[in-house]
């Protein structure tokens, strides 16, 4: 009845604590499913642990490149993407004509580009698809729990239900699953999810980062309002849960706890040899590190809402690939994929950086004696992009590589 031990982490000590964690885990099935490194076979061979504990050499170069990539993408968004989107967005007149004379899009390429740049695209089918995606995202955690109850695990296959408490826990799992599937009292369900996440933090400490994506569901339920399929606060909540979750999935499970992912690579060698055929310089260590950087980059972009649809698509591909690689046990990854589909179909109303950029430009305008120009605006975009890359990408990497191992005595 205890979670399978990883090489470094012990199960909670007291029975009460264990029970709380198990019940919490039962409710957190979708989130824990993200942490597939912990439950697919991950016995690792010796590797260079020091690689992940010093911000120098290749690690420093890759970290700087990742921060630069984030900065470039943010810059491209404001200086290219937003302008192009504005150009391609139809006017009210054009929309009216499209409504009055339904016909295939006159400019299909423009429509596709507009869609991929997070713009609004009219279409009844899109609205229907979004409603279906929201419904699936709201109910899928229930199906995951039912699957767990049927297969004999609570959270994921790594946590089999055994012993005397197996039956009550599986019944509890079914009850919670039915609550989710019923769609009743969503706000209370959201509160329950937040409480469970808090409990998991207390019970598992750092490993609770795996459960952060459950906050996507927690906020989704918490902010739901009767008669509205999906509101902006729910969108922010989903973005926060999945974005931060994916970011930390890379930072913690592939850099701080690198043995988890390197162990997966050791047991599934084609995961390493495939990328090595494209990037011959990749070692097992750098494979784990670059995979982490990829997940962090796209998690951060998802969190910020920059190229939201393209980022959602990329993350859905990454998770879909897990299912293809590991098969049926990874079927629970359909949960985050459902979240990405919701983000993919919903038109974004701006990014988290919009207000920061505006304020930066205003400060620059003041500093320049209340004069501005397009060049100053570009400079502000540049400053915001660099700051985003440095503070949100490089700084966490630096902390995880240089400070965290010393702080936690690894």
């Amino acid at each position: 009845m205890r979670p399978r031990k990883t090489p470094r982490r012990s199960a909670p000590s007291s029975r009460t604590r264990g029970l709380v964690v198990l019940v919490a885990g039962g409710l957190l099935a979708p989130a824990q499913a993200l942490a597939h490194e912990r439950w697919v076979k991950h016995d690792f061979k010796p590797f260079n642990r020091g690689y992940f504990q010093s911000m120098s050499g290749e690690v420093l170069r890759l970290s700087l490149l990742a921060a630069a990539a984030v900065a470039v993408i943010v810059g491209l968004w404001y200086l290219g993407g937003v302008v192009l989107l504005d150009r391609l967005t139809p006017t009210s007149v054009e929309r009216k004509v499209e409504t009055e004379k339904p016909r295939p899009a006159r400019r299909p390429l423009a429509s596709v580009i507009r869609f991929l740049l997070d713009g609004y695209v009219a279409g009844a089918w899109l609205g229907s698809a979004e409603r279906i995606a929201v419904f699936v995202f709201a109910r899928l955690p229930g199906l995951v729990l039912l699957l767990g109850a049927a297969k004999g695990w609570l959270v994921m296959p790594s946590f089999p239900v055994e012993g005397a408490v197996a039956l009550p826990l599986r019944i509890a799992e079914v009850v919670v699953a039915l609550w989710i599937l019923s769609g009743l009292f969503p706000v209370a369900l959201g509160v329950a999810f937040v409480a469970i996440f808090t409990g998991l933090c207390a019970g598992y400490g750092l490993a609770a980062v795996d459960a952060i994506p459950v906050l996507a569901s927690a906020f989704f339920y918490l902010f739901s309002r009767r008669g509205i399929a999906l509101n902006e606060r729910q969108m922010v909540g989903i973005r926060l849960g999945l974005g931060v979750g994916f970011f930390l999935l890379g930072l913690v499970n592939k850099i701080y706890d690198a043995e988890l992912f390197i162990g997966v690579g050791d047991n599934y060698p084609h995961l390493v040899t495939g990328p090595q055929s494209v990037f011959p310089w990749l070692t097992r260590e750098s494979w784990s590190f670059t995979t982490a950087l990829g997940e962090m980059t796209f998690g951060l972009l998802l969190l910020l809402g920059v190229f939201s649809r393209l980022t959602s698509l990329a993350l859905a591909l990454i998770f879909g690939n897990f299912i293809l690689v590991f098969g049926w046990p990874e079927i629970v990854h359909l949960y985050p994929i459902a979240g990405f589909v919701v983000l993919f179909l919903h038109a974004s109303r701006g990014t988290a950086l919009d207000d920061i950029l505006f304020r930066t430009h205003v400060n620059a305008w003041r500093a320049m004696g209340y004069h501005t120009s397009y060049l100053l605006y570009r400079g502000s975009v540049f400053a915001v992009a660099i700051a985003t890359g440095a503070l949100l990408m490089f700084a966490p990497l630096y902390l995880a590589v240089e400070w965290a191992p010393r702080l936690f005595g690894r």
Partner: protein, 311 residues
């Protein structure tokens, strides 16, 4: 999969650097090979609505190259991107023959918005969205080759501390846009009418009379000489408003009425010339109107050709 996607993200770095560097290098090369010197200045740094500003340029081309210098008075509103609210372009005539000096007088419109943050000093300024706009005025200089290629761009800021203050509770760009369009409409309409009248070569006498009547109605200008001077002035400049802004926020009816005025003038001599038709087609494009949208307007004007376009 994440490794490959990260690789793709990394590819954006060199691509962006190469593209940006190439653009900058091309601009610099074009500037260095075509111009020997270029200096720009304004007679004032602070102006009030209605005030005239002298824009000066000293541009020395290489090897007696033929160039034109244009000054563009622009009001831009920034949120997290830029939106041009108003722009008035004027070709700068040579001030002294052979001295490479150019000068032109630009007039800040009476309805000019105050520069600065919208709602900066308002008690409501802490409300979300109320400080989301920054209004600035600039004079943008452009040096062009005879073929129209832009050789150099330079922008100088202009402070308008006593301009019209946008309402502090203004939260949406659409209100600002409609407000601006309402203010600029007559000015812009007259400017476009003058260009429409002149597009087939010269302003015909019927068209000139029409424009005189319009000026008298709009501004009370009764002197024929003054009206002709104003028409000449409008011919030298082209007043535009950001078409993206226009199409997004100005109501359909307002844009239709603008087109009605243009069409009325074009039909004033009873026929539509090819250049006039081209001008009208261009207006439709700028105002994002379809032929279906204006079909009934054209029918009404054809039936009653003596309508007043300013009404």
């Amino acid at each position: 999969m994440a490794v490959y996607l990260f690789g793709l993200a990394l590819c954006l770095i060199p691509l962006t650097l190469v593209w940006g560097s190439l653009q900058a290098a091309l601009r610099l090369a074009r500037r260095l090979t075509t111009l020997e010197a270029a200096n720009f200045s304004l007679s004032v740094k602070t102006a009030r609505p209605g005030q005239s500003i002298e824009a000066r340029a000293h541009v020395v081309p290489r090897s007696s190259r033929s160039i034109t210098v244009i000054a563009r008075l622009t009001c831009t509103m920034f949120d997290h991107r830029s939106h041009e609210l108003y722009a008035s372009s004027l070709a700068m005539p040579a001030a002294t023959n052979g001295a490479n000096d150019y000068a032109v007088s630009l007039t800040l419109p009476d309805y000019a918005l105050k520069t600065g943050l919208v709602g900066e000093n308002s008690p409501r300024s802490t409300a979300e969205g109320s400080r989301r706009m920054l209004v600035v005025w600039t004079v943008d200089f452009e040096v062009r080759s005879a073929g129209g290629t832009v050789l150099l761009r330079r922008s100088l800021g202009l402070d308008v501390p006593r301009g019209r203050r946008p309402k502090t509770h203004l939260r949406r760009m659409s209100l600002l846009a409609i407000d601006t369009f309402s203010s600029i409409r007559n000015d812009m309409l007259f400017n476009w009418l003058v260009h429409l009248a002149a597009c087939d070569g010269a302003v015909a006498s019927a068209e000139r009379r029409f424009l005189h009547d319009l000026l008298e109605e709009m501004t009370g200008m009764t002197s024929g000489g003054e009206a002709d001077a104003r028409i000449e002035q409008e011919l030298r400049r082209r007043l535009v408003i950001d078409d993206m802004f226009l199409k997004r926020y100005v109501p359909l009816e307002a844009r239709r009425e603008f087109y009605r005025a243009l069409y009325t003038l074009a039909r004033i001599d009873g026929t539509l010339h090819q250049r006039e038709m081209d001008f009208l087609a261009d207006a439709l494009r700028v105002f994002r109107l379809t032929t279906d949208d204006v079909k009934h307007i054209e029918g009404e004007v054809a039936d009653a050709p003596a309508q007043d376009p300013a009404s």
